[in-house]
Structures are given as structure tokens and as C-alpha cells.
Symmetry: C2
Subunit: 335 residues, 2 copies
């Protein structure tokens, strides 16, 4: 990499002249500016980012901590973050907590050494189970703002971007009730997560309000055989005529399993699930889905963080933004 020093030497001027010329300072003479710019162009000069960061005490880099990059929703949020951050002139350093509290802490510590200006993260499963929040608070008190999305720690005072999980599931369940379904089950693979619990509660509320049926819930663990669990559940609970799925796989598997067991979907069995467009292609008929607009969530998180960084209203009140889901009717439910 060519430096200001080298340019200055070659041009027989001082370093600061070169610097000013490149930064279009009024102070420098026209022809000097021209000479400098030409040589800089020739040598493909770019200001050293590290030196700038050191000088200005900010990196224009955001630390992003994702619990699981293989989760399609989280990957899509990351996509949204990256895109928005790039647009606003920021880079992102990505860490994957792998749902582990320890790794989450480590990532936070490791990047809080000047590598990044702030964080965007979704809380790891283990962290939610153990309900630890000290590492977040410590990071914020060190002057590094955090924006949390989707899985948030409610007791940490910071900006948040969340989904209307409760309402979305409540409304979806209501829809099934309007289809006159008599035994609506709830299937989830994410019972440990805050969002999983919210979705379950939304479902339960709608069911309990109906007064004619009781909640029927199947919680599947990560290590379980997903297909088998759903199959035996359907065999055991023969009267089930509708399913709400809290995660993207359960809905798909439910449809495919039901079809295989001889149910007509949606006639005998109506299915709604949280899923992306790509997922919804994986069942026949296509899954009626609750879409989470992951990209929008990511973009919002990036905006909120960068906004805070630039204004450095660190004392300004924190905001919580709710990104509403969309309900996309397809062929796995009646219309």
C-alpha cells in the first residue's frame, strides 16, 4: 500500500500538503492539487483505514453477533444488516455465538477493544435460558451501544427491533378458528426462545378465548427426529384438524407428513407456519405463512445503531421498533 509519505517524497512536498490536497482543502494551490491527485490516482492510493480509525477513534465498523447462521431467518437479517451498513459506509465484523453464552461473551469482549463502534445482536439460546445480561450491560457501559433484534433481553436498556410474534400467532389462530377448525394444535421447535414463548402464548390466548377447545402443544427438541415426532403426534391425536407451526421446518414437515398419512390438505388439515418464501416452496400444497421481513429487521437495526453512533446521543432514550409480520395465504389453508 502506498502512503502519503511516499507520495510526498516523490512530489517533493510535505505530507500535510498531500493530505490537504487529497481532501480538497482550500489552502492548497490548484496545480499542486492536480499534481498530487494525479500521482495518487496513478499509484491507486487509498487512505489507510487503520490509521484513520486510530486517529479518529472510530472504526466505522459494526460487530454483529448471530446465534446461528444456518437459521434462514437469522441469515436473512444478517443480509439486511450488511446491505444497510454498506450503504451507510460501515463494514460489519461477524461473530457466530452458536447459541452459546460463553462464545457470546467472548465475542463481545474481543471486539470491545477498539475493533468496532457498536454491536447488533440477537441473544443466544443459552443466554436466554440462563437469563444472563451482565455482559451486555458492561459493554454498553464501556461506551459501545448495542441494538438487539428478534431475541432480545428485555432487562437491558438498549435499542431493539422486534417482531409482533404474539399478535401474529394470535391472529393466525383466529383465522383457523374462522375456518371452523375444532382441534388446532401448536407445534414448535423453539420453545426455549423468547420468541417461541411469545408465539405459544399468542396461540394459547386465541384458543382459550374460543372456549370450545383446549390448547394442544407439541414441543420438539433440537435433538429429536423432527419427522418422527410430528408423525407420532398426528397419529396419536387423530382429531387434530389444524396446526400452527412456530418455526420454519415444523410447518413444512407437518404438511408433508399429513399428506403421507392420507390427510387432505387443507380440507382435513389446515396448516400455518412462520417461514420464508423459499421454505414455503418445500411443501405441496405450499405453506400458508407468517412472514417476518427479516431483511427489514436487519436494515432497521443497522439504521438505529448507526444513527446512535453518529449523533452519539448515548443518553437519548432507547427505542423499540416493531416490524410487523405479513400473513401470506397459500394452499395449506382454506380461503
Amino acid at each position: 500500500m502506498v502512503t502519503l509519505k511516499q507520495l510526498a517524497k516523490e512530489l517533493n512536498v510535505s505530507i500535510s500538503t498531500v493530505s490537504k490536497a487529497l481532501n480538497n482543502s482550500e489552502e492548497i494551490g490548484e496545480d499542486t492539487v492536480k499534481r498530487v491527485k494525479e500521482l495518487a490516482e496513478l499509484y491507486n492510493y487509498t487512505p489507510n483505514k487503520v490509521a484513520l480509525s486510530l486517529k479518529q477513534n472510530k472504526t466505522r465498523t459494526i460487530g454483529v453477533i448471530i446465534p446461528n447462521i444456518l437459521n434462514h431467518f437469522l441469515a436473512k437479517v444478517l443480509f439486511g444488516i450488511e446491505k444497510e451498513a454498506t450503504n451507510l459506509g460501515y463494514n460489519i465484523i461477524t461473530c457466530i455465538s452458536n447459541e452459546s453464552l460463553e462464545k457470546e461473551k467472548e465475542s463481545l469482549m474481543l471486539l470491545a477493544n477498539g475493533s468496532v463502534d457498536g454491536f447488533i445482536l440477537s441473544v443466544a439460546e443459552e443466554t436466554q435460558i440462563k437469563n444472563e445480561i451482565d455482559h451486555f450491560k458492561k459493554t454498553i457501559s464501556r461506551g459501545l451501544p448495542i441494538v438487539m433484534f428478534d431475541r432480545v433481553a428485555h432487562d437491558v436498556l438498549c435499542d431493539k427491533v422486534i417482531v409482533d410474534d404474539f399478535d401474529a400467532t394470535y391472529n393466525a389462530t383466529k383465522d383457523l378458528l374462522l375456518e371452523n377448525r375444532k382441534n388446532i394444535a401448536f407445534v414448535s421447535n423453539i420453545n426455549d426462545l423468547s420468541v417461541g414463548k411469545l408465539r405459544e402464548r399468542g396461540y394459547a390466548k386465541a384458543i382459550l378465548e374460543d372456549n370450545s377447545q383446549a390448547p394442544l402443544i407439541l414441543n420438539i427438541k433440537k435433538k429429536d427426529d423432527h419427522q418422527k415426532k410430528i408423525k407420532s403426534f398426528l397419529k396419536k391425536n387423530k382429531m387434530v384438524d389444524a396446526i400452527i407451526a412456530a418455526d420454519s421446518s415444523s410447518g413444512i414437515i407437518a404438511i408433508n407428513t399429513a399428506v403421507n398419512l392420507g390427510f387432505k390438505v387443507p380440507k382435513d388439515m389446515s396448516v400455518i407456519g412462520f417461514a420464508s418464501k423459499a421454505d414455503s416452496n418445500h411443501s405441496t400444497p405450499r405453506l400458508t405463512t407468517i412472514r417476518q421481513h427479516a431483511k427489514v429487521i436487519g436494515a432497521n437495526a443497522a439504521q438505529m445503531l448507526i444513527d446512535r453512533l453518529q449523533k452519539m446521543h448515548l443518553n437519548e432514550d432507547v427505542k423499540t421498533k416493531i416490524v410487523r409480520t405479513s400473513f401470506i395465504k397459500s394452499k395449506s389453508t382454506l380461503k
Copy 2:
């Protein structure tokens, strides 16, 4: 962030003494070391990463450029890269090229300003179509090594990690021939990519060697309705009794569509596809898959790059590592 300067002031010693003490230099007296370390501990001192990078002219950061983070395979490679990089003490800055040549170039340029020590990337679709490689060569000549994985540019001299796409598809096709399949079709959603072409060739070779059937290929474009295309293909080509799918969705959709059309899988229709474990759960019966060990690919890429960075054998010969696929038999093929 607390700095050496602040510690020095508080301890009434010089900055260099503090620095040496913290780095366990022999020069410094025992008690001084102790005093310094205690205060550093108290204040949670960590060396400023940016200052270190500037001083040492290396960042211990890798730029990763991924064409599409929503592709499960690529996401998994990223997972592997992140894990291995973290283990070896490196951070990763992630850019998403979104299959665009322009964005790929930009990312390369933007990070080649001292932000990273080298790159790991998979070539964007547009770049492969236009066959552009100048930006890669330029980056390497600026002293930033590149490791390419999966979709590589063969004419760029750099380390590479690839999959045995040709052999894997060839062997899988052979397997179907051994099942005595008479009309084996090839379905692909990734015809534009180098790996897509390799897979098609592996299939075609096996078919042509058989001498009793001709290649039958369905290329689906990104904008097509995936389900519809496969359905009409199966309706039009009624004699098809086996399918090789080049991408993860086509195999799943093929099975579900076939079942819906009344085929018995695997009796009437045998299906093999490149897919991950998670994907293979999305069909009933489960898809017999060619697994790509994405995590291993990522880990290998990280190792190769970091190895080169640390030895800085920049002139050393470049290596190409082939990570072999596994063939996982499931219920969508006969045994």
C-alpha cells in the same frame, strides 16, 4: 477504553514500563509487574486493536466475500470459516456480493485499504458469467492473498478449496443406473455456475457411457416458478424414473411433486440431490443426498489463508484442496 498512558500516569511510571510489564518482559522488576498487572486488571485494560494493527501492519482480520448468504451451503461454509478463524485468533469482516460483479469489486477495493490481511471468497454468479478476473489479480498483486472456494476462477493463481462435483454426480448417476433406471433426468437451478456445469457434465458422462439412454436435462432459471417447472417437466416426460438434482431445492421439490402426481418414491421414481441434512428433512421420503461438508470447506479455506499469512510464503506455490462429498443413502432411492 483505558490506555497505557492512563495506567502509566496513575502508577507514576512510564508508558514503556507499563507496556513491558504487561508483556512479561524480563526487564521489569517483579513488584512493578505486579502493580501494573493489578491496575490493568482492575481497569479491564485490553490493548487497542487498531493501534496494534497500525504498528504491526497487520490486522488479524480476514475479508470474506459471500455471493449469497441465504444459500444454505454458502452460509454453512461461512460458519466453518468463522469458527476456524476464531480458533486461530482471527476476525472476519463479511461482505455479501449478492452475485453481483460490481459489489464484489467494491468489497475487494473497500477492504484492501488495510482493513484485512487477506480474502476468502466464492465467485459471484455475474463474475462467472462475464468471466472477469482482473480485480482478483489486482488484489493479489497488492499483497493481499486470496483463497477461493466452491466457485473458483481457474485462471487466477491462488489457493483454492473445491468439491469433487464432477465425480460425485458421475457416481450418483452410476448408482441410479445400477438400480436399473431407464430414464434418468438431471434437474438444475444453478446452470450458470461453474459447479452447476461440472455437475451436469458428471451426469452426462455417466449417461453417455451407458449407451442405452440420452441425457435429459431440465434447467430452471432463478425467476421461474420452481414447483411448476418440475411438475410440467414430469408430466411431459412420463417415462422419467429417476432424477439427479444439482441444487438443494430441486431434489426436495421433485420428490414432493412426484408423490403428488401419484408416483411411488422410490419405486417408480428414484431421486438423488445435492442437499444438506436440514433440507433432506423437507421431503417424505427423505432425500438421498450428496453432502458437501460445507463446514470442512470453510475450515480448510481459513487454514490455508492464515497459514499463508503467517508464513508469508507469498511466492510459494498455490494449492488446490479437494474436499470430497459423502453419499448419504436415504429412502428416496432403492438400496
